[in-house]
Symmetry: C2
Subunit: 321 residues, 2 copies
């Protein structure tokens, strides 16, 4: 679909705002409902009874050129990433996606066709998840900028969140970890079905999605009063983590702990129900890998190696610093 930046005659700067919005909305496709439930007014107007569930889960996240994708990335892959990483937060809450608002900050030389491809990818990813993109705004930004922010609302029967695990709970993770830079950070399916299912199991005590790497996200899941004792030998290593380890000489385990952007679900289960939940999960999702990593215990937010009893030396990446 061509490059992100372009010559003046194909750039967003040559189009009036209304035409740019019209093209983005058109590229979103069926994911954008008709006015006034969708774009076109000061607000989108939604029926509050939609979903029929007790709680609304609300989350926001962005993708930036140079940070979450590069200028060689196809528009639709960047657009899908924006939607899917936000959906991963809803999956962690066990929520069913409902509606989203899209904000775009565009440098004047952004290519119109690339932007339409971005919206097309975002619309397709939204549609797959039953998410409606109901509104947005577009704003001109300094040279070099392409930033897209998405705010999502979903609905859930109960609150599934972090920092609600108890001492002794079993720790599970879906999928395989590490090496997302080899492509998975752009191409992944958020674990929505698994999250909704986990939300319905009362013995699931806490849940998050892996965005910064297990080494950082597991303490984040448990909070400051629990330690995790983890069997590092049990870590589900992705092929990409092994390939990356060969390329850079670091252990594949370290990649699995710190690479980030796994977008898998990490959750805890009451100890006496953990075996049963594991079996039920495998029946419900035979194609989704599930690994029991270890257990929680009273502590101070540490990530302990089951083999040595020592804190693991590894650091997930932060967005700053």
């Amino acid at each position: 679909m061509g490059a992100l930046t372009t010559l003046p005659d194909r750039s967003v700067a040559r189009l009036p705002e209304e035409e740019l919005i019209r093209r983005v909305v058109q590229a979103l496709g069926v994911a954008a409902p008709p006015f006034p439930e969708g774009p076109g007014g000061d607000c989108a107007h939604l029926d509050t009874t939609r979903g029929g569930r007790k709680y609304r889960a609300s989350t926001i996240d962005s993708v930036l050129l140079g940070r979450h994708f590069d200028a060689a990335c196809a528009g639709h892959r960047a657009g899908a990433k924006l939607v899917n990483r936000n959906l991963s937060d809803l999956a962690a809450a066990g929520a069913t996606p409902s509606d989203g608002l899209l904000s775009l900050l565009l440098a004047p030389d952004v290519d119109v066709a690339w932007l339409e491809d971005f919206a097309h990818g975002a619309g397709q990813a939204a549609n797959r998840a039953g998410l409606r993109l109901v509104g947005g705004d577009i704003c001109r930004a300094p040279a070099g900028t392409f930033a897209a922010t998405l705010a999502l609302q979903g609905f859930a029967h109960r609150i599934l969140t972090r920092r609600t695990a108890s001492s002794g709970d079993a720790v599970f993770v879906t999928g395989q970890l590490g090496g997302s830079l080899y492509g998975r950070h752009l191409d992944f399916t958020p674990r929505l079905a698994e999250g909704e299912w986990l939300c319905g199991q009362g013995e699931v005590t806490a849940c998050t999605d892996l965005s910064d790497g297990l080494a950082k996200d597991l303490p984040g899941l448990l909070g400051p009063k629990l330690d995790a004792r983890i069997d590092l030998g049990a870590l589900p290593l992705s092929d990409a983590a092994r390939a990356l380890a060969k390329a850079d000489g670091k252990p594949a385990t370290e990649h699995a702990l710190t690479d980030g952007e796994d977008y898998e679900l990490l959750f805890t289960v009451a100890a006496d129900r953990a075996d049963l939940l594991e079996r039920s999960f495998r029946q419900a999702f035979p194609l989704t890998p599930l690994t029991r990593l270890g257990a929680t215990e009273a502590g101070s937010g540490r990530f302990l190696d089951l083999a040595t009893g020592e804190p693991v030396k590894a650091k997930g990446f932060g967005h700053f610093g």
Copy 2:
């Protein structure tokens, strides 16, 4: 509170993401509810029954350094502007503010104290309106960037929006128009109470807020099948519009038509109920100016001068082009 950009030792680049989030949340003050209803999880968790109204109004908008405020602007004024211009969209929908998500894109040299002042201003504006800031994200951005995006949810008893007026409806506007650059674009109170009240009056047929100027927003309110016939002599000119007219030699009327960022409510009322509504409004809001500008008629989206019958030659500013 100091400048937006700063030396490395006071910049956001020196702080880890968690500490930056902690400081922003603290500066938001009581507007940020405690976890899990507020910041700290993958999602904020809200009770869907909150509000007890039939419709949810959903809107998103941004402020950017260099576009909506400049580097000399105090942080709290920029933060209040972000919140208030979004609230103005809810006011146009007649919705009661509920909750918002805040996304920040920060260049490495943004001053931490300026950022905290920004969050303080945003939190105060939110609090005045009963709006809770329930979550957000922070992302590092290229040099020269400060962008803040806010996504809001509000609740309303009925849908009050654009493009729903009928031929013959009376056209009203609140407040005074033009010259917002003299300061009002930063310091204004969104017309939330007026919007809620208008939403409760069945004879109000359509409503929007003035962001791009009457010349552009009135056709936007009416849609492509109605003309507006407006008494330009009746336009409520602000003192700032008159002062600006003296300074640049353009007619004050042109400033009132095209300056933008008025953040007043523009609405239509069924003709046979317009006199009564006007009286009721003045009783309910004795301090809010209300002007009857003219009427709609079957047409093609034109803005006609009542005196000449000709289309008005003026153009509201667009975000692009």
